[in-house]
């Protein structure tokens, strides 16, 4: 019974923790401009993140070490450094975007200007990272993030023409858009679904929670059930935008627009739930990305790391996270739009994907670390297919960004 509860909790937290500011903004932007014609990208991204999160969780459970540590040891300092540079910078951008997302959601709830919320949000992140136990932190934010299910509820309450919505599912470029903007947002959605920090956090979290090979089944269920259900939440966000904003000729450029379809369908209660969900999702992701920044640096340089250690025993790990938070505050204090930072962070995530996922595929095939838990043939074939997709997305991202003026 206890094990069953553990599995249920794991799945619920995986669903609630799947959506972050990148998913929220990108899906709403895409829904308001392309309807549901890019849903197939969410499906491709969810399969990809399931594949690689499962792989990195298996690496951590089989070797007892986080993916980044093993990459550094297995591939050497130079390859590890490329991986570190790419993932750390993307992480830093994502930390900034998530803290901005918390602040924007709090502004929507209070009408107090978002810049005033930024130091509060960052301080709260630091306090939780410093004081709260890993499992409590993960479960509370994940479970509160479940309130984002209100997007799916609101979609039903809006009583859309389901036949018309289903008709939008076929991949097609809308009349008012170009094939280039369509491709650009396809890459952005893919980057949002496969953000590298998710994998690093997942594998480091496995070490924090002391997973062993006995936990592999639960880990697999969490990933294979929780993430696809989280992906459905992403689709619900896009669908809400497609039903309310697209017909009104509204292109999403702010978080306040993202919540309007929920208020339309579910009123003030829906609005309250969606704001709780957005704060939980962005705050949870801010915690994860802050920790991931510390994890990547500490694991590369061989510092003592982990929330399971007292801060004094992992001082450089904690200091690195504080510096990252301060950098995030400094960037946001310039007045740069957090939504814009989010949009760029998901595209840059797509650019850095090969540097993150190729090493994981290599390590997951190394019997020295994995013993009998190396990748099977099917996983390797899928992994290779995804590497090709990732490579294409990575190479096409910058030219498309230039050609489309970043999707404008």
């Amino acid at each position: 019974m206890k094990r069953l509860l553990g599995v249920a909790l794991g799945i619920l937290t995986a669903i609630g923790g799947f959506v972050d500011i990148g998913d929220l903004v990108t899906n709403a932007v895409v829904g308001s401009r392309f309807g549901l014609s890019l849903v197939w990208v969410v499906a491709v991204g969810v399969v990809g993140i399931c594949l690689f999160a499962n792989m990195s969780g298996r690496v951590a459970a089989a070797s007892g070490r986080a993916t980044f540590e093993v990459i550094r040891e297995r591939l050497g300092a130079r390859a590890g450094l490329a991986n570190l540079a790419a993932s750390f910078l993307i992480n830093l951008m994502t930390v900034t975007a998530e803290i901005g997302g918390v602040a924007l959601a709090l502004q929507l709830a209070s009408s107090v200007y978002y810049l005033l919320w930024i130091p509060v949000a960052a301080l709260a992140v630091w306090l939780v990272v410093w004081r709260v136990r890993f499992t409590i932190m993960e479960n509370v934010t994940g479970l509160l993030g479940l309130t984002l299910i209100i997007f799916a509820v609101a979609l039903f309450l809006l009583k859309p023409d389901w036949g018309m919505l289903a008709g939008q599912l076929a991949p097609a470029v809308p009349e008012q858009e170009t094939v280039w903007t369509y491709s650009y947002y396809a890459i952005a959605l893919f980057g949002a679904a496969m953000t590298p920090y998710e994998v690093f956090f997942f594998s480091s979290g496995a070490v924090e929670e002391g997973w062993t090979v006995k936990d592999l089944l639960q880990e697999r269920i969490n990933v294979l059930v929780g993430f696809p259900l989280g992906g459905l939440l992403s689709v619900a966000i896009a669908a809400c935008a497609a039903v309310v904003l697209l017909p009104a000729g509204i292109s999403v450029t702010s978080l306040s627009q993202v919540v309007l379809p929920v208020a339309e369908g579910a009123g003030k209660i829906g609005l309250a739930l969606v704001l709780v969900g957005i704060v939980a999702a962005t705050f949870g992701a801010a915690l994860e990305t802050t920790l991931s920044s510390g994890y990547t640096l500490a694991q590369f340089f061989g510092w003592s790391w982990g929330k399971f250690r007292r801060p004094a025993e992992a001082a450089r790990f904690h200091l690195a996270m504080i510096v990252c938070l301060l950098v995030g505050i400094a960037v946001l204090a310039t007045g740069v739009d957090p939504v814009l930072v989010t949009e760029y962070s998901v595209v840059f995530s797509a650019i850095a994907l090969p540097l993150t996922y190729l090493p994981i595929l290599i390590v997951a095939n190394d019997p020295q670390y994995m013993r009998e838990h190396v990748n099977g043939r099917v996983v390797n074939v899928l992994g290779m297919v995804y590497l090709v997709i990732i490579l294409v997305a990575s190479i096409a991202a910058i030219p498309l960004m230039i050609v489309t003026g970043a999707g404008s």
């Binding site: 107090v112 200007y113 000729g249 450029t253 309007l260 609005l271 007045g335 404008s408």
Partner: protein
């Protein structure tokens, strides 16, 4: 309590602004390479599209406020966000350097319409801030924005981007 008073300031909250900077750089580079001047019609057309989106958003927020579906905090934040979009569009149009009489006329008409939008937003924000049932009412704000939306549509029909 509304502490937010969006000024013309950084306007960093406008996502399309950032995109426009990048897009503008690309267009400028292309113009330099091809010897062509930047298209006033294209810029005006984009500014009008963005403004239409902003006004439509504000009208949905006001309607939801009147229907009791949206809190005042969310409604006023939405209006503030969209007013920044209008200010960004106005600033973009204002900075254009039209080369012909026709382009100058287009720029002037666009600025007039965008001023009408800004006035509509001012009425709507005043209505939300008043909160005492006095004038202007939220309905007055919606009417002002509806007028601006019609003017935007008419001008959009005239300005066809190349």
């Amino acid at each position: 309590m509304v502490l937010t008073t969006p000024g013309p300031g950084p306007a960093g909250r406008s996502t399309r602004t950032g995109r426009k900077h990048l897009g503008g750089l690309v267009l400028a580079a292309l113009a330099l390479l091809t010897g062509c001047s930047g298209g006033t019609s294209q810029s005006v057309s984009t500014a009008l599209e963005d403004s239409s989106s902003a006004v439509a958003t504000a009208r949905i927020a006001l309607r939801q406020d009147m229907d009791g579906k949206l809190t005042r905090a969310a409604a006023s934040t939405t209006l503030d966000d969209e007013l920044k979009e209008i200010q960004t569009s106005r600033s973009t149009v204002l900075k254009l350097s039209p080369a012909t009489q026709e382009e100058r006329e287009t720029q002037k008409q666009a600025l007039d319409v965008l001023d009408q939008c800004a006035a509509g937003f001012a009425t709507a924000r005043a209505a939300l801030a008043a909160n005492d049932g006095g004038a202007p009412s939220v309905s007055d704000g919606d009417k002002a924005l509806a007028g601006a939306q019609d003017a935007l549509k008419q001008l959009e029909g005239k300005v066809v981007s190349p």
